[in-house]
Structure formats: structure tokens, C-alpha cells
């Protein structure tokens, strides 16, 4: 990036002895003074990226489905909980194919409407992944900033804790912790109602994923801050007497936009996958919450007889995650041109 502004503009009127004010000085060119910040440049780059636009639209599509799930189900005239036993034969096979009444058909065995369960299923995925992303981002940024900027013993303690969390087997904990939390919140698990268990499972999933999720971002932010802290513009602010709080939020934080945005864009699809995966294993959400992971788990036994049952949620989650991952990749390229291919 060499000179982008014509040097002729350097000229300084009325100082002929000054070599900078060489000949061309009389007409200072009128220049467009509204310029783009690095973030705006990145966003402009993103808007030009076709893959990013398509993937963003897909994501938006799923968000809208989740928001308007009740409306969509009403449009179809079904709900996700009604058991249509009349549409199930004695072996549990549905007797109806997808039709005007049941757009995606009905579940084997229970006979619940698949379309309704599918649109409602988008909700827990996005809510869990979204809230975990928000929580981990906030905690990660704060811890990373504090550790990196303050240094000293605070940094040592926080860093140890970051390392500690990062060296825990989080999948094992994700299995084990809900068991303990369930006991804590519900007491005797034998008597707990399904709804109660489902609710506890929902929150404990968010808690577990959040507990393990913030540390990697905190480590990243801490590293960035350590690097930025040595940059001369921070020293310049200090020399000018800018108070520490302002250095932190006005000088440092704006420079962390890129890593934070990138990390968020990578975290969201990762948590969607984790949620669905744990639910699939039976340690995430439970019935009666409609969830793609649950549907996949149930459908794997019917994959020959009723492939649609399996493939609809599989396709949904794959497309959503694929779109988000590709979007995340585009975002990273847009914000960090060095990684461009």
C-alpha cells in the first residue's frame, strides 16, 4: 500500500522556501473527504463476495423460519405435538405420504407432523447456538482484554484459568455435567416430569457450552492485546496522557473488531453442530422439545423405510452449517486480507 493520495496535494501555500511546497501549490484539489474505515472496507468486500451473500441469505432464511415457526405451522394447519395415530399402521409406519395436509408427512410410530416439527426444530438450534455465542463472546473478550492489558498477577491467574478450561475434555463434561445439574435442579430424577427435565437440559446445555466456549476466544484476544499493547500508537496515547480506560476502549477495542467478528462467525455454526450432535447422542435436549438432533436420532432406525424422515433434518442442519461456515470463511477473508487465497 504505497501512496494513495497524490503528493501534489502536499503542497503548502505561501512557503516557497519549503521544498514540500513545490510548484503545483496554487490549486489545492477538492477531494472527496468521506473515507472508509477498515471495517467499512471489509464489509464492502463482503458485499461483493457472492458466496457470502448467498450464504448470508440462507442463514437469514433459517432465522425467519425459526421466528415464524408457529405461523408456518398454522399455515399448514398442524402443530408439532399432536399425535396423529390414525395415520400410523400397526407396525408404526405412516400410512400417508407428504401431501397438502402434512407437507413433509408424519413421523413413524407417533404420527406427529414432520413439517411442524421441522420448523419448530430450527428454534432450539439457533437459540442455543446464538445465546452460547453471545455469552462466550462477551466473557471471552472481557477476560482476554483484562488479562492482556493489565498483565501482572491478574494475567497469570486468568491465563491459568484459560489454560485450565482449555485442557478439560469438554465433550466428556458435556455428557457428565447435565447429569449432575439435573440432580441439582430437579432432585430425584425419577419423579421429574418430562417438561421439567427438558427445561433443565436446555439450560444446562447452554451453561456447559458457554463454560467451555469462552476460553479459546479469551486466549485469542489476550494474544492480540499483548501484540497491540506494544504498538506505538498505544504508547502515543499514553504520552498524550489519555486515561487508561480510554486507551482500552477507544484505542484497543476498535482494533479487536476483526478477531471478534471472525470468531463469532466461526462459533455460531460450531455451536449449532455441537447442540445437534449432543442432542443426537441423547445428552442434549430431550423430548418433547422439537429438535433436529432428536429427529435425526429417531429417524436413523427408519432410514430405509422412510428416508424423508431422516433426510429433511439432515439436509436442514447441513445446509445451515455449510452456509454459516462458508459465510464465516468469507468474513475472515474480508476482515483479514492476509489470509486471502
Amino acid at each position: 500500500m504505497e501512496p494513495l493520495i497524490e503528493e501534489a496535494e502536499l503542497s503548502r501555500k505561501g512557503a516557497p522556501t519549503d521544498p514540500i511546497g513545490a510548484p503545483t501549490g496554487e490549486s489545492v484539489k477538492k477531494v472527496d473527504t468521506r473515507r472508509k474505515s477498515p471495517t467499512q472496507i471489509a464489509l464492502a468486500r463482503l458485499r461483493k463476495d457472492k458466496v457470502a451473500v448467498i450464504c448470508g441469505s440462507i442463514f437469514l432464511f433459517f432465522v425467519l423460519i425459526a421466528i415464524f415457526a408457529p405461523l408456518l405451522a398454522k399455515l399448514e394447519g398442524q402443530d408439532p405435538t399432536t399425535l396423529n395415530q390414525n395415520l400410523i399402521d400397526q407396525y408404526g409406519f405412516p400410512t400417508v405420504a407428504p401431501n397438502g395436509e402434512h407437507w413433509f408427512g408424519v413421523e413413524p410410530r407417533l404420527g406427529r407432523d414432520l413439517f411442524a416439527r421441522w420448523v419448530y426444530g430450527a428454534r432450539p438450534s439457533l437459540i442455543v447456538a446464538g445465546s452460547v455465542t453471545v455469552i462466550t463472546t462477551i466473557i471471552g473478550v472481557i477476560v482476554g482484554l483484562v488479562a492482556g492489558f493489565l498483565g501482572g498477577w491478574i494475567d497469570r491467574i486468568l491465563s491459568w484459568f484459560i489454560d485450565f478450561v482449555l485442557s478439560l475434555p469438554y465433550l466428556l463434561f458435556a455428557i457428565a455435567v447435565p447429569a449432575a445439574l439435573l440432580a441439582v435442579f430437579v432432585g430425584n430424577t425419577e419423579n421429574a416430569g418430562n417438561d421439567e427435565v427438558a427445561q433443565v437440559r436446555f439450560y444446562s446445555l447452554i451453561i456447559v457450552l458457554s463454560f467451555f466456549g469462552w476460553a479459546s476466544l479469551a486466549r485469542l484476544i489476550r494474544g492480540e492485546v499483548l501484540g497491540l499493547r506494544e504498538r506505538e500508537f498505544i504508547a502515543a496515547a499514553k504520552v498524550l496522557g489519555v486515561p487508561t480506560r480510554k486507551v482500552l476502549f477507544k484505542e484497543l477495542l476498535p482494533n479487536l473488531v476483526a478477531p471478534i467478528v471472525i470468531s463469532v462467525s466461526m462459533a455460531l455454526p460450531a455451536y449449532i453442530v455441537t447442540e445437534a450432535g449432543l442432542t443426537y447422542l441423547g445428552v442434549g435436549l430431550t423430548e418433547p422439545t422439537p429438535s433436529w438432533g432428536l429427529t435425526i436420532a429417531a429417524a436413523q432406525n427408519w432410514y430405509r423405510a422412510d428416508p424423508l424422515y431422516l433426510w429433511i433434518p439432515v439436509a436442514a442442519i447441513t445446509i445451515l452449517v455449510l452456509a454459516l461456515s462458508l459465510l464465516g470463511d468469507s468474513i475472515r477473508d474480508a476482515f483479514d486480507p492476509r489470509t486471502r487465497r
Binding site: 477498515p38 504508547a235 476498535p254
Partner: protein
């Protein structure tokens, strides 16, 4: 603080008659990881080890030396980006060496720093206007409504288009960025500017532009400068007095002409003789040169006695045992050497 101090309304106190800036036996030792195999004891990098320096108002003093001699650390000590391990840093007679950040704030305005790297010294996420206006906002120097016109005025002073106030640093070239950095320092209306290698990252033609700009500012505004560079020509061009540093110490200090024409410390002589001189091809007889052997020793474990003795051809036993003090050997010229003497013949080729 026993001396009578006069508090100014800015919050900066001063002792009447005191020099603008005075460093007395300032030391800065950094903790370093040791190299031992098993017993890794804490080691100290003696980056600056006993520097004395005086700057009068409006004066320009140059600090030269090779990498690792502690000149940049000195810059960071004067501007109190670092707190010295020992010694006093007196600004207008008031010791600011260990002053708390809050008390220091009014002083900060008056002591400014210009950086070497035009890329890392500007916040890439701020507009030029925000960068240059930092001092104005931080110290409430102009009313909010007057900030823009003041920033534009400053941009014009450093030779930039005032209309560019809301552009971002990445749109400027290295030389222009350096001007932005200078405007930022000027905004604070400092009494002293520490310029830490302000031109060494720039191309020759741009370097001269920036030097002229600094020189004009110095003449017009009467700001004192501590000018740090490794280029002896640049320092000579800009400074009234010059101090030569080696391994954390000032080894020789004096008026410009005395130091360049009659250097008394062997290191100064070697340094001057090592500078490749363009005069050679202009019919100037080739000069005799002194070549030092080896490299600068590690500041973690500097030689005993005189620090230069390991590379000095005059070194004798006394140099290993007795640390030579910085004594006046000629009018206003102080040298830290047991065998200080001017060179037999001038080291620098005299132009006709």
C-alpha cells in the same frame, strides 16, 4: 521536593532557573529470562545504566549510538512510558521519575514523543482528525467546536492537505504518516519533543522532507528536541549538542562541532570513522579508518569497568577495574574514558 516550586495553572510545577529537562544517573534494568540450563536465575538487561543529560529550553540535543545502546529506552524514560529503576528525571526542576499517572497527566502534554515506525504509530481504526485531535480532547485545549479548525491548522502546518482530516492512516504513504505523527505531537503544544529515530524508516528523499519540516517547526515554535538517531549525518544536521551512547551509558557528550571534529572517546572516533562518506568521491583524500572488531557485548552481562574496553585498542588493565566517569575534557565536552584524547588527524575528510 525541597526547592520552591511554582505551580502553574496547567498543574505543571516548576523550579525557577532549573533546566527544562535533566536526567541524573537514570537507570533502567529489565528483567530477562536467564539462559542457565538448570538453575535459571533472574537476569537483568541493563538497557540504560546511569545516564546524565541536560536539555535547556529550545535546545536540540542529539542521541546517537548503535542498536541496543539504550537510546530508545532513554526516549521512553523521558516520556515516562517507562518508570526508571533508579535516578531522577527532572522536568523544570520537578522530579517526574516516579510520579503517579494522575499527577503526571499535565506534564504529559508538555513532553511529546515522535515515533520511528510510521505504520505502527498511528491507530489504523481512527481517522487522521481523531488522531491529531487526541491531545486537544484529552486536555480540553480547545472547545469542541474549535477542534476541527485546529486539527486542520495543524495538518497544514505539517504540510498535509487539511481536507484529509477524516481519512484513515492506511491511505497515506510512510512520509505522510510521519507528518501525521508530528501533527499529533504538536497538537499538545509541547515544550520538548523526543524524536525517536523519526526519519530512519523513510526513504532518503522523504527523510530530507521530514527533517526540514522538523527544523522549521523547531525554529518557528522554539520547541526543545531530544533527537535520537543512528545516522550521524542526520544528527549532526539537526542538533546543537550531541551525546554518544554505548551499552546503556553516555560515553561522550559535547557541542556538535567539537564532537564531530575532535572526538575524544575511542568509540566516538571509531563510529565516525565507520560512517561511509560520500566525500571520498569528490576529490577528498581517503580517510584512515578505525575498524572495531566484533559486536557490541550483551547488555545482560556488560564488561566490568569501561564498557567499551572489549573492543577498544587503547584498553589497559585499569579499564577493566575502574569505570571511567564522564568528565569535562574540553570546554563543554565531557568524555568517559581513561585515555581520552583528540585524534591525531581529523577523522572526517574535510571538504575543500
Amino acid at each position: 521536593m525541597t526547592a520552591a516550586t511554582t505551580p502553574a495553572k496547567s498543574g505543571v510545577r516548576s523550579v525557577p532557573g532549573a533546566p527544562l529537562l535533566e536526567l541524573q544517573n537514570v537507570k533502567m534494568h529489565f528483567k530477562a529470562k536467564g539462559e542457565g540450563f538448570l538453575a535459571r536465575k533472574t537476569q537483568w538487561v541493563q538497557a540504560v545504566d546511569g545516564v546524565d543529560l541536560t536539555v535547556q529550553p529550545g535546545e536540540t540535543i542529539g542521541l546517537v549510538g548503535e542498536s541496543g545502546c539504550g537510546k530508545s529506552t532513554t526516549a521512553r524514560l523521558i516520556t515516562r512510558l517507562l518508570e526508571p529503576t533508579a535516578g531522577e528525571i527532572r522536568y523544570q526542576g520537578v522530579d517526574i521519575a516516579h510520579m503517579s499517572e494522575r499527577k503526571l497527566r499535565p506534564y504529559r502534554r508538555e513532553i511529546q514523543l515522535i515515533f520511528q515506525d510510521p505504520y505502527s504509530s498511528l491507530n489504523p481504526r481512527h481517522t487522521v482528525g481523531t488522531i491529531v485531535g487526541t491531545a486537544l480532547r484529552t486536555h480540553g485545549m480547545v472547545p469542541k467546536s474549535g477542534e476541527l479548525s485546529r486539527v486542520q491548522e495543524l495538518l497544514e502546518v505539517v504540510g498535509l492537505n487539511p481536507e484529509h482530516y477524516n481519512r484513515y492512516p492506511h491511505e497515506f504513504s510512510g512520509g505522510q504518516r510521519q507528518r501525521i505523527g508530528i501533527a499529533r505531537a504538536l497538537a499538545a503544544r509541547p515544550k520538548i519533543i523526543v524524536a525517536d529515530e523519526p526519519v530512519s524508516a523513510l526513504d532518503v528523499s522523504i527523510q530530507a522532507q521530514v527533517m526540514n519540516l522538523l527544523e522549521n517547526l523547531r525554529k518557528e515554535l522554539g520547541i526543545a528536541f531530544v533527537f535520537i538517531a543512528h545516522d550521524l549525518g542526520v544528527v549532526r544536521h539537526f542538533c546543537d549538542r550531541v551525546a554518544v551512547m554505548y551499552l546503556g551509558r553516555v560515553v561522550e557528550e559535547g557541542p556538535r562541532d567539537a564532537l564531530y571534529l575532535k572526538p575524544q572517546h575511542p568509540y566516538t572516533q571509531a563510529l565516525l570513522s565507520a560512517v561511509p562518506d560520500i566525500g571520498v568521491v569528490r576529490g577528498v583524500p581517503p580517510k584512515n579508518r578505525i575498524r572495531l572488531v566484533g559486536d557490541v557485548p550483551s547488555p545482560v552481562d556488560p564488561p566490568s569497568g569501561c564498557r567499551f574496553r572489549t573492543r577498544c585498542w587503547k584498553a589497559q588493565d585499569i579499564c577493566a577495574t575502574d569505570d571511567p566517569a564522564l568528565i569535562e575534557r574540553a570546554p563543554a565536552q565531557r568524555v568517559a574514558c581513561h585515555f581520552a584524547e583528540p585524534p591525531a588527524e581529523s577523522i572526517l575528510a574535510e571538504t575543500a
